[in-house]
Symmetry: C2
Subunit: 283 residues, 2 copies
């Protein structure tokens, strides 16, 4: 066993899956789960997803070597700050947020000297949510990005890496701004675009007729944004500046295609589509 | 058997699948296949997809009760016109193009009095193409839209409906402009958007890094546009005006979301996302 106690705050899909995967890894003596929803805690105890649980941060945080904040993006920073007083000296806080710069800055600015922090983002998820969807294989073979800074303790980084590796993840490191730029383009922008596309249909006068024929292509956008709007608003808010850059880039690309159609420059249009199609086949 | 001879021009995925499905339906005495590619014709004969075949329109068209033009959208009108001289009096021409107004107008304007025409669009397809992907179940349970006009012969409409029903399709009727508006929004626009999104990534300075993390959401756009760029250029060209309207509607929806993010109006943003998410779950 590598770890005596790991505490997970927020028993949703990600937190619950991490708890379950850590239990199965047999690398942790005690997996402690904290959630404000008492039913989720009880469910996790009953199903053996966690060893112990509570709705009180003061109960689960002391003695934990690693505390994983796996709440919604919008409250990760405040949740992390709220556990500083209860955390044992030398313990490591990490998180699972899809946006990193604002979280890493917010937590590092307030971090006491005797507690460590490193930001994390496991690239995993499904359309489901909640502890009942917890899946011990969720992180298996998937990447987990850690975003160390100049302040990051190397031993803390090693331990958090080791935790993710023990659930099958492949750990990558990059700085938080690079992370937010990349995921602004490859993840957050596609969601913005999918939402915009669906709203285009909803705002049309004949939206019911349009929806009846959604199988024509629109339906493929369903999976992209089946997850919680609240979660996405928090992500868009936290990654505002990179996301606005990504939207601006996208608008330029759309404009080029629109211009080619308007001016009937079908050779250029064909070239644009060829480039995209080739890339997609390679993904 | 309802039909003595049905001729299909263009043995691609749609034409080949229709031939195979008609053979299996046992409602057609002779399914005749025409394709400029001699290998496709030979393959279709060898595999029993068609009863007879040729690369010469003059060989397959005479005596056919229904002639289905299933070439690429860009050459449907000219192909239909080219068979007028060879068609037997009273025979019915139909097509499978994803765009209808321009095709229906072009063919009806030139149509001789003794030949009938009705436009069609089977809502079916896969990422595959070519006669080797021919699937007799492709149209089973899928819609086929027919676009009759004031000039359409009712008996011709009945026969073409009956042909599609015999391969399992549910036949809908609408006028060609309505069809092109609806599919401009629900099918052509999503493809434009997917192409634009992929090109956004390709044009970025760090496109290789971005592509490495495409699993974050971008990859969901793959399926939408895995089909042939040439085919889509022809569709975009043929449906230019409805498509430009659809792009304009989409840009407005995107702008509303962008404005909400810029002005940090997250209540409005949440409302926009909620509407979209609810719809998607219902699709």
């Amino acid at each position: 066993m590598q770890f005596k106690k790991i505490t997970i705050i927020g028993l949703g899909l990600i937190g619950g899956s991490l708890a379950r995967a850590l239990k199965e890894s047999e690398e942790v003596e005690t997996v402690f789960g904290i959630d404000s929803d008492k039913e989720s805690v009880q469910y996790a105890i009953d199903k053996g997803i966690i060893d112990k649980g509570s709705s009180d941060i003061k109960e689960g945080v002391p003695g934990a070597e690693i505390i994983v904040v796996s709440t919604h993006v919008g409250i990760i920073t405040d949740t992390a700050k709220s556990i500083f007083p209860a955390a044992t000296e030398g313990s490591i806080i990490t998180d699972v947020g899809s946006v990193k710069s604002s979280i890493v800055k917010g937590i590092e600015q307030a971090l006491p000297d005797n507690i460590h922090f490193i930001g994390g983002h496991p690239i995993a998820g499904t359309e489901d949510s909640g502890v009942k969807s917890a899946d011990s294989k969720l992180f298996n073979g998937r990447r987990c990005i850690l975003t160390p800074t100049a302040k990051t303790d190397l031993e803390a980084k090693r331990k958090v890496s080791s935790m993710w590796e023990s659930v099958g993840s492949e750990v990558h490191e990059m700085d938080a701004e690079t992370h937010d730029h990349i995921f602004g383009v490859v993840s957050h922008l596609p969601h913005i675009v999918a939402y915009s596309l669906i709203n285009t249909v909803l705002k049309a006068q004949d939206s019911e007729d349009l929806l009846e024929f959604a199988g024509g292509g629109l339906k493929d956008y369903t999976r992209v944004s089946a997850s919680s709007p609240q979660m996405w608003v928090e992500i868009f808010k936290a990654n505002k500046s990179h996301l606005l850059d990504a939207i601006s880039m996208f608008k330029n690309s759309l404009q080029e295609i629109e211009d080619a159609i308007t001016s009937e420059d079908f050779d250029t249009l064909k070239k644009e589509l060829d480039k995209a199609a080739k890339t997609k086949r390679g993904l």
